[in-house]
């Protein structure tokens, strides 16, 4: 490594990692002196020391190079034939030096007296991307200044920065092992930790949590959560029509409505119709679950998660097997052929149409490619004559490679003029080509599924010739692979490093309740650098986990464990108040603090109270309250709300009132040993001034704080004091007022059956305490 590189890396280290000695490095830069790295023929330049100072990384690279130029100027980009090629500094930290040289080189060249760097960026000279930087914009000013610094016209002022970042997670305090345990059991399997788990964590701390995770990920409840979470991403249960419409009339005409003729003679005739409806409901639910059962199967068996795009099988249950007409041949493979939700991996035969024509394959089998060929995926993202499978291509990129092609290059041009100027704009106009050359080949790979219902059915006239040929990112689909085109796509996807990254991002979304950060876009944002650092820290974690995921045979459980072990998941609070706005901006997204979804909230209520509230998630189709509480229907409402509106605030109040109402009197009505909420207290324990009663009441409060909020407080913690004051204050005031000695009718242990007496008003006071706790963020958020 030469001197220049060493110096550069010093600058770089300061920027990218821990920054503990930022001030020292700044000083170092001042004293290193001149390094002659500029060819003699070029105009006199400033010392290289100044050229590669952190200002380049923070301003030129971060705000212009990475955001603007690198969109096209990289080895696989639109401008890959240009000499101005840039590298991804996230994947290769040393790339910053090469990028610096590329910029410096462009800045030195002139075009009609204007530095080529500026001429290209502003479109004064022919530039494939047109004018990407407006005159007088921030980006323009940065580039101009860069040129001036190189030319020595602007003396670099090495000022001590106003904010010297420290280690990224400095002062961020992690969850205690016990609280982490509660977080993961609730999040992954919807229950509270068992006594054995708590004891294990008491002994071994975080290490025990890691071991417990292995067991949690074997529980059925984990797979329920996995199905629900992946539906938030893929939204497959939202496909249109009846669930059994997913099986085409053309290929499953005789079997797909099997429930209509299923023998129910053993059921009394008067009940038969109802039973048939129930049968249909179960069958439909089983069909909706199939794609997620594939995910569950892969994860449970610890098979490579790449199988979500490569599996040469799909999942079927006894009920769905009937829909495919395969029940008789499969029934011996099921443990319980009457269980609608027991799924096994199955290979379909090549599809045969009503006219007897069989799908051309070389194996006689349907060419399964994981989710890509499931009928549910294809129906959820159907095509039209003019869309030509582009929606599917877009979703493919988003779901499996983490790329939103709609944000790739939405360029502002006269789109109507383009359509006038070109015969085939999507293949000829650069503004269109930039996306279509990515999208259209993949759309072509889906060509055998050109049926507007989402079913199998190649286009009669053959695939479109006015589109880029079927393939993927420059590689054409080989002719002999056409019959198994999606398998070919799946195999290529599994090899793509972006697949692992996308899956790591999905798991992050599942655990954190939000998507990973996007890079900051506004170069004028005063906290741009801080936000970029936050983004880069997260990116590095994603990258590292993705590499480990790939190394460990794409076992998705590894990703869950890695995120849970990371400071991103464990961050809980701050050791001291942070006031510096830059530091606050750096930490802006840190911490889980995720509003529970309606489903999660119901599970948490069940874990704590032993029974779901049942109003948010009801059996049947009435999900109105869930939608009001920010839930999704996977069809029209597809994004969960993450911040509570006033309407949601009202539902929280309603929930707290009602859940407390349902459980407090009922709990006291049970023998102490069977109680969940009040095992150590009775309704006649009153704050009578005795130390013993106060201790018992406080102990009951500590217990409730732990049970409902997961808080670990001692008897005299300020929060316990506040709850105690609430309880005592209510009793004191009730004593002054005249009150009915009966608990409110709706909140009695068994409303309508027997009256719950509340002679001391303590049941109502405890109900108020539970209501109070249920309205807090430690309950409503994860």
């Amino acid at each position: 490594m030469n001197r220049e590189s060493t110096l550069f890396l010093l600058c770089f280290v300061r920027m990218w990692w821990t920054w503990p000695n930022g001030a020292i490095l700044w000083t170092l830069l001042v004293f290193v002196g001149h390094i002659d790295a500029v060819p003699a023929a070029e105009p006199p330049m400033a010392p290289i020391c100044t050229a590669i100072d952190p200002w380049f990384a923070e301003e030129v690279w971060a705000k212009v190079g990475e955001r603007v130029c690198a969109n096209c100027h990289h080895a696989k980009g639109d401008a890959n034939e240009s000499r101005f090629l840039l590298d991804d500094t996230l994947r290769d930290p040393t790339a910053l030096l090469r990028n610096y040289r590329a910029f410096a080189d462009m800045a030195q060249k002139q075009h009609e007296g204007v530095p080529r760097l500026l001429a290209k960026a502003t479109g004064r000279v022919k530039h494939g991307g047109g004018a990407v930087v407006k005159a007088n914009s921030t980006e323009f000013r940065i580039l101009t200044r860069f040129v001036e610094r190189l030319q020595g016209r602007e003396k670099p002022v090495v000022e001590p920065p106003s904010f010297v970042p420290g280690p990224y997670f400095a002062q961020v305090t992690p969850l205690s092992p016990q609280r982490l345990l509660r977080r993961v059991t609730l999040a992954l399997v919807g229950r509270l930790p068992t006594l054995a788990e708590r004891e294990a964590v008491e002994k071994a701390g975080y290490a025990a949590v890691d071991r417990i995770l292995d067991d949690l990920m074997k529980e059925d409840a984990f797979y329920d959560r996995l199905r629900e979470a992946f539906n938030d991403i893929f939204l497959l249960v939202g496909y249109p029509g009846l669930a059994d419409d997913v099986l085409s009339y053309e290929h499953f005409e005789k079997s797909r409505r099997w429930y209509q003729t299923h023998d129910l003679s053993h059921i009394p005739e008067k009940d038969r119709q109802k039973a048939r409806y129930a049968l249909a409901d179960l069958y439909r639910a089983a069909l909706l679950r199939e794609p997620y059962e594939l995910i569950a199967y892969i994860v449970r068996q610890e098979r490579p998660f790449t199988e979500i795009v490569t599996a040469d099988y799909q999942m079927m249950s006894p009920y769905t097997a009937r829909g495919y007409g395969m029940y008789e041949e499969l029934k011996s493979h099921f443990k319980n052929p009457e269980d609608p939700f027991e799924y096994i991996p199955v290979q379909l035969k090549a599809l045969t149409s009503r006219s007897g024509k069989t799908q051309p394959t070389q194996t006689g089998k349907y060419p399964h490619a994981g989710l890509l060929t499931t009928f549910q995926y294809l129906r959820r993202y159907p095509t039209t004559v003019t869309n030509r499978n582009r929606l599917r291509a877009r979703m493919y990129y988003q779901h499996f490679l983490g790329v939103d092609v709609m944000t790739l290059a939405p360029r502002v041009t006269d789109a109507t003029a383009v359509s006038k100027k070109f015969d085939i704009p999507t293949m000829q106009a650069s503004e269109c080509v930039v996306c279509h050359k990515i999208i259209d080949p993949v759309a072509g790979v889906f060509q055998d599924y050109f049926n507007e219902e989402g079913h199998y059915g190649p286009r009669k006239e053959g695939w479109f010739s006015d589109m880029f040929a079927p393939g993927r990112e420059g590689e054409e689909l080989p002719r002999e692979q056409k019959w198994r085109a999606l398998q070919w796509l799946g195999a290529a996807t599994a090899q793509d490093p972006r697949f692992a990254v996308a899956m790591v991002e999905h798991v992050y979304t599942i655990l954190m309740g939000r998507r990973p950060l996007l890079p900051p876009q506004d170069p004028d944002d005063p906290y741009f650098s801080a936000r970029r650092r936050a983004y880069l820290e997260q990116r590095q974690a994603i990258q590292a986990i993705a590499e480990r995921f790939a190394k460990e045979n794409f076992n998705l459980k590894v990703v869950f464990k890695a995120w849970i072990a990371s400071p991103f998941y464990r961050a809980d609070g701050l050791a001291e108040v942070v006031r510096h706005p830059e530091r606050r901006a750096e930490l802006d997204d840190i911490g889980l603090m995720h509003l529970l979804t309606p489903e999660q909230l119901e599970r948490k209520i069940e874990a704590i109270f032993g029974q779901r509230w049942g109003k948010m998630i009801r059996s049947g189709s009435d999900q109105r309250l869930a939608i009001l509480y920010g839930g999704i229907d996977s069809r029209e409402v597809t994004q969960r709300m993450t911040e509570p509106s006033g309407a949601m605030g009202a539902i929280q109040r309603m929930l707290a009132n009602d859940v407390a109402c349902q459980h407090v009197a009922k709990d006291f009505d049970k023998p102490a040993a069977q109680r969940r909420l009040f095992p150590e207290i009775e309704i006649d324990v009153l704050p009578d001034g005795s130390a013993e009663n106060e201790r018992r009441i406080r102990a009951a409060i500590v217990y409730l704080h732990a049970l409902i909020l997961g808080q670990e407080h001692d008897l005299n913690h300020p929060e316990v004091n506040r709850t105690y004051d609430l309880f005592v204050g209510i009793l004191r005031e009730a004593k002054i007022r005249k009150y009915d000695p009966r608990e409110q009718y709706s909140c009695q242990a068994e409303p309508g059956k027997k009256t719950t007496m509340d002679p001391y008003y303590t049941i109502r006071a405890w109900r108020a305490v539970v209501t109070y706790l249920l309205r807090q963020d430690d309950f409503l958020y994860e």
């Binding site: 006269d414 876009q521 506004d522 701050l574 911040e643 006033g646 309407a647 949601m648 506040r722």
Partner: protein, 429 residues
């Protein structure tokens, strides 16, 4: 730290926040229950999927652009030309009726350049005025944040692109009946006559929550935690004024999808708990059978707008209502093989509201449905030296119209329109 300082401080850290009305303490909140928000009220009506403007306010009838009428059939009401649809409309309200009733108040903007023609970026662009950012709030969210983030339903949305820029929570209330339940959250099954807790108990619960919220303000917290705790407290605290909506919930629920949304929004406006609403009906994306589809949907859209305005009149808030009718794209000037029309990056929008001079058409497209530029100052067509009106121009003008262009939240999301491209006379002409 007072409320204003707190806002500034949050902004300095890039934090969006919605405040409880009594965030300094519960006592204060109880002493001063907030005055109802009095308007103006902003309604954005979205024709999601891309409407065919040539069957609405930008009629052509030439060059095979329309199959249901010819150029000579085009109707005029005041200054506004529109396509005749009375013979073909399926349900809803025909253009003839709509423009006869509202042309006097309507400002029509034709030749709007969406710049791209894909649904997602276009929806985002039309809703926010910013094409290349996922962070910008929609106009409806921004105006709600600037004028009344503390109201429980400040920004109501029924779909379409609804990003809030983290300035204000979005409220989704698709069911009219739910308003009753939400408005009486402390009553068993939404009944104010059967409260869960005795009044003094409830008051003590609220006081304890307020005390707790106050106590944690000075504790070291992660910014995200801080924001979530503030928002949670605000959501619960502010939700109590939802009771104001109850008198304005209609006894009969309309059947039409836009009318239901209108009723929710109007009840919330009239109750003084909302600032803006994002109404939407979809399925305009008529790649197949364009004419049949558009003849169902455009009349449905117009009937919905008419319903909104009529009911606003009945509720006596019509004069405070600003209506923006828009879509994320137009349809091509030709039919495809499925008798449909594909995406077209030029379209139109309509506006109606106080301090807005109606009976005007700004901008135009030519006979082939290509955009004709305009002079920014005079708003006259100027094919040679004029400018293309894009969503950011409209949004900058909307911010000015709403009086929020200098609000810190608006500045947090700048549109950077050069002075020469401002449209100073857009609203009053």
């Amino acid at each position: 730290m007072n409320r204003r300082e707190f806002v500034r401080w949050c902004q300095s850290a890039g934090l969006g926040v919605a405040f409880p009305l009594g965030w300094q303490g519960h006592t204060l909140a109880r002493q001063r229950e907030p005055a109802p928000y009095e308007g103006p009220f902003f309604v954005v009506v979205n024709a999601a999927g891309g409407w065919d403007t040539t069957y609405l306010m930008d009629p052509k009838g030439v060059g095979g652009i329309n199959r249901l009428y010819r150029e000579g059939d085009i109707q005029t009401q005041g200054a506004i030309r529109f396509a005749p649809t009375a013979k073909h409309a399926v349900g809803g309200m025909a253009n003839e009726t709509f423009f006869a009733k509202y042309a006097r108040e309507l400002l029509v903007l034709n030749g709007l350049d969406y710049s791209v023609n894909n649904h997602d970026p276009c929806s985002r662009y039309m809703a926010t005025g910013k094409l290349d950012s996922l962070a910008y709030p929609t106009f409806a969210a921004l105006v709600a944040a600037c004028k009344g983030a503390e109201y429980p339903l400040a920004f109501l949305t029924f779909g379409n692109y609804s990003s809030t820029g983290n300035l204000v929570p979005m409220a989704r209330i698709p069911y009219l009946n739910s308003l009753h339940l939400l408005a009486n959250a402390d009553g068993v099954q939404g009944s104010p006559r059967h409260p869960y807790h005795d009044a003094f108990v409830l008051e003590r619960i609220e006081k304890a929550l307020a005390d707790k919220h106050q106590a944690i303000q000075s504790s070291p917290r992660l910014p995200r935690t801080e924001r979530a705790q503030n928002m949670l407290y605000a959501a619960q605290e502010n939700s109590k004024i939802l009771k104001r909506v109850v008198p304005f919930i209609p006894k009969t629920i309309p059947r039409e999808r836009l009318s239901v949304q209108a009723e929710v929004a109007l009840a919330a406006f009239k109750g003084g708990v909302a600032v803006s609403a994002n109404l939407t009906i979809g399925q305009f994306d008529s790649h197949a059978n364009n004419d049949a589809e558009q003849m169902k949907l455009i009349p449905e859209l117009l009937a919905g707008i008419d319903y909104l305005l009529r009911r606003a009149e009945e509720l006596q808030i019509r004069e405070k209502l600003v209506v923006i009718a828009q879509s994320e794209m137009g349809r091509t000037p030709h039919y495809n093989s499925g008798q449909g029309k594909d995406h077209w990056s030029v379209g139109s929008a309509m506006f109606l509201g106080p301090n807005l001079r109606g009976n005007r058409v700004i901008g135009a497209t030519d006979q082939k449905q290509f955009l004709i530029p305009i002079d920014a100052k005079t708003l006259r067509l100027d094919a040679k030296n004029g400018m293309r009106i894009r969503p950011e121009h409209v949004h900058a003008a909307l911010r000015r119209y709403a009086g929020i262009e200098h609000h810190p939240f608006a500045k947090q999301f700048p549109l950077d329109i050069p002075a020469t491209e401002q449209l100073p006379t857009l609203w009053m002409g």
